[in-house]
């Protein structure tokens, strides 16, 4: 019996679930991504803009204590209220965004550039280079990530730059492994084999045939990766071992949320930054997911 497209898995009916998206979806990419995507993009844009413009915005000095009453609740002029030392939570959150976002961005860039390159090369050239690289990846990946992060950051130092590099190093293995896997898939495809038969040099094949095809799915992953990096930095900050003297989200949340009495009297100091972190990570995850769906489906055209 021919399978009839429909929805739901009524037990026993062998139905194909969900009519799949048309491969030849005529709508523009913007519409395919969906309103959820653009909502997330909007939020992310807002956070980034506020973070970048922080120095010139009319915000209270985040380090200045006693701007508001101790654990004072939100009011006009003090949108997120004040924390246990009277600092402006809203201002803290925005200034914290600067560090968290910056670290996340640099980490991902480093991770993707290095990891991506090594992964692609390993997947293309194979041989002993690939064996060594794969082994290194496997080793790095069997390290509990947080312990590795702590080790590396302790080693390299506690500045924004070095923390970013540390997290970037952490990203190399997972990204590299993905890049390698993608490359392996593509290297076998006909058009690459054809190019090789036609005598194209390795370099040409890598840059003209492989790179564009591997980069596209990886870009979608970059957003997800940023989310992970931000959480990683937040975790380090929460534990007190991120940027020295820096006030990123993690530290802010720890300061505001680690004492029961503070939470009792003024949970807002912790909940607002938590909300912002959550929304930001969620937005990155969702946007990355949507990108992956839209661009993966397009890939099938091969």
């Amino acid at each position: 019996m021919a399978k009839v497209p429909g929805i739901s898995t009524d037990l026993g009916s062998n139905q194909v679930v969900e009519v799949p998206a048309d491969l030849g979806d005529e709508r523009s990419v913007a519409r395919q991504l969906g309103w959820g995507f653009w909502l997330c993009a909007g939020w992310l844009a807002l956070v980034v803009i506020l973070a970048v413009l922080a120095p010139i915005l009319p915000l209270a000095d985040p380090n200045k204590t006693a701007v508001g009453g101790r654990l004072e609740g939100p009011r006009s002029g003090l949108w997120f209220g004040a924390d246990s030392t009277g600092r402006d939570v809203f201002s803290l959150t925005i200034w914290g965004a600067r560090i968290s976002l910056l670290v996340g961005l640099i980490a991902i860039v480093v991770g993707f550039l290095v990891g991506g390159t090594v992964g692609i090369l390993a997947g293309y050239f194979r041989g002993w280079f690939d064996k060594i690289v794969s082994f290194i990846f496997a080793t790095l990946l069997s390290f509990p990530a947080l312990i590795l992060a702590i080790l590396i950051t302790t080693l390299l130092g506690r500045t924004v730059f070095w923390i970013s590099i540390s997290l970037g190093i952490l990203a190399i293995a997972p990204v590299g492994r993905l890049a390698r896997a993608q490359t392996l898939v593509f290297a076998e495809k006909d058009f690459v084999v054809a190019a090789r038969i036609l005598g194209a040099s390795d370099r040409r094949i890598l840059t003209r045939e492989l790179l564009p095809n591997v980069v596209i799915p990886m870009s979608a992953l970059a957003l997800l990766g940023m989310g992970i990096a931000i959480v990683a930095e937040g975790t380090l900050a929460f534990l007190g071992i991120s940027v020295a003297d820096g006030l990123s989200w993690g530290k802010q949340i720890f300061d505001a949320g680690s004492r029961a009495t503070d939470l009792q009297n003024g949970p807002h100091a912790a909940l607002f930054p938590i909300g912002v972190v959550f929304l930001t990570v969620l937005a990155l995850n969702y946007a990355g997911d949507r990108l992956r769906e839209v661009f993966d489906a397009k890939e099938l055209a091969f």
Binding site: I150, A256, L271
Partner: protein, 317 residues
């Protein structure tokens, strides 16, 4: 059996590499002498404290080349001797024996909670795929995935220990009951991302399995929905979730560091972070070894479980 040996060999190699990396990292992090002796380490010849320096150098074999020291340490570990912590000379093995159980309890607790919640949830959503309940669940699941553990612990603590005083605010070691009760919130914090992950994976595989002929055959035999879901659809669908189960052990270790630190649980996670900050090599290295071995063991068990679940897969893969 040959494949088993090969797999085991591979894993041992990885564990060795991991420990080597850790050893290298720790030795580059600073002067072990300083960590043992403090400022006294700067003592020069002629200084009365210099004898302490010499003694420390000897006891810890600090003058030997790096590789030799690694080899010696490895040998010690193989015989169960993890050395002494730089801080107050405590036997590392004792520290481990003292703190490891709590962490393991926490991790197992979290996995149990995760499985107990995610499996029924996945069954429920798979049997109603794409209808309203499933759509809502997908959103909730996605949201849960994105919550960082450090934020989650604060929210959970605030809600359930501070605002509505259901759970205690600190770890209670009195007996197993109070341990489980006071570890509940920490375990839930750890379990939450797992719940979401497992539910999503299991649901996907279930939906796929539910379209197979043998499900229709079972329904045609008049078996009830419940029976078909639990006793026909579930087992063949567990593989992705099982794979991730093993891998998640690594994530759990990281998560437990945060959770232990925040809730003040005297486990190995908290101990190791303090140790890293203090450059306390013996303890850090011991933890790295133990953690790697646990990780390897768990994945090995997962492999065994595969062959039990699917009779078509023999253990030799």
């Amino acid at each position: 059996m040959k494949v088993v040996a090969q797999r085991l060999g591979q894993m041992i190699l990885v564990v060795l590499a991991v420990t080597f990396l850790a050893f290298a990292a720790m030795n580059l992090l600073g002067d072990p002498l300083f960590n043992i002796l403090g400022p006294v380490a700067a003592a020069e010849e002629g200084d009365p404290n210099y004898s302490m320096v010499v003694e420390a150098r000897e006891t810890y074999h600090l003058d030997d080349p790096f590789v030799v020291r690694y080899g010696r340490w490895l040998g010690d570990v193989a015989t169960g001797d993890f050395g002494r912590s730089f801080k107050n000379q405590q036997n590392v093995r004792t520290i481990l024996a003292d703190k490891l159980p709590v962490t393991v309890l926490l991790m197992v607790y979290a996995q149990v909670i995760a499985v107990v919640i995610s499996v029924p949830w996945a069954l429920w959503t798979a049997s109603r795929a794409y209808r309203l309940g499933d759509k809502v669940s997908t959103v909730v699941s996605f949201g849960l995935l994105g919550i960082p553990v450090f934020a989650l612990v604060v929210v959970l603590f605030w809600l359930f220990a501070v605002r509505w005083e259901i759970f205690p605010t600190r770890f209670d070691d009195a007996d197993l009951g109070s341990r489980l009760w006071s570890l509940f919130l920490p375990a839930v914090a750890l379990a939450t991302p797992l719940i979401a992950t497992y539910q999503r994976l299991l649901r996907t595989d279930l939906i796929s399995t539910l379209q197979e002929d043998f499900i229709a055959v079972a329904r045609a035999k008049g078996m009830s929905r419940w029976h078909v879901l639990f006793r026909h659809a579930l087992r063949p669908s567990l593989f992705s979730m099982l794979t991730v189960f093993g891998i998640q052990t690594g994530a759990l270790i990281g998560g437990s560091i945060v959770v232990e630190q925040y809730f003040g649980i005297p486990g190995i996670g908290r101990a190791v972070i303090e140790a890293i900050i203090r450059d306390d090599f013996p303890l850090v290295l011991a933890v790295v070894v133990v953690v790697s071995v646990i990780f390897v063991l768990v994945n090995f068990l997962v492999d065994l479980l595969y062959s039990y679940l699917d009779p078509r897969v023999s253990f030799d893969g």
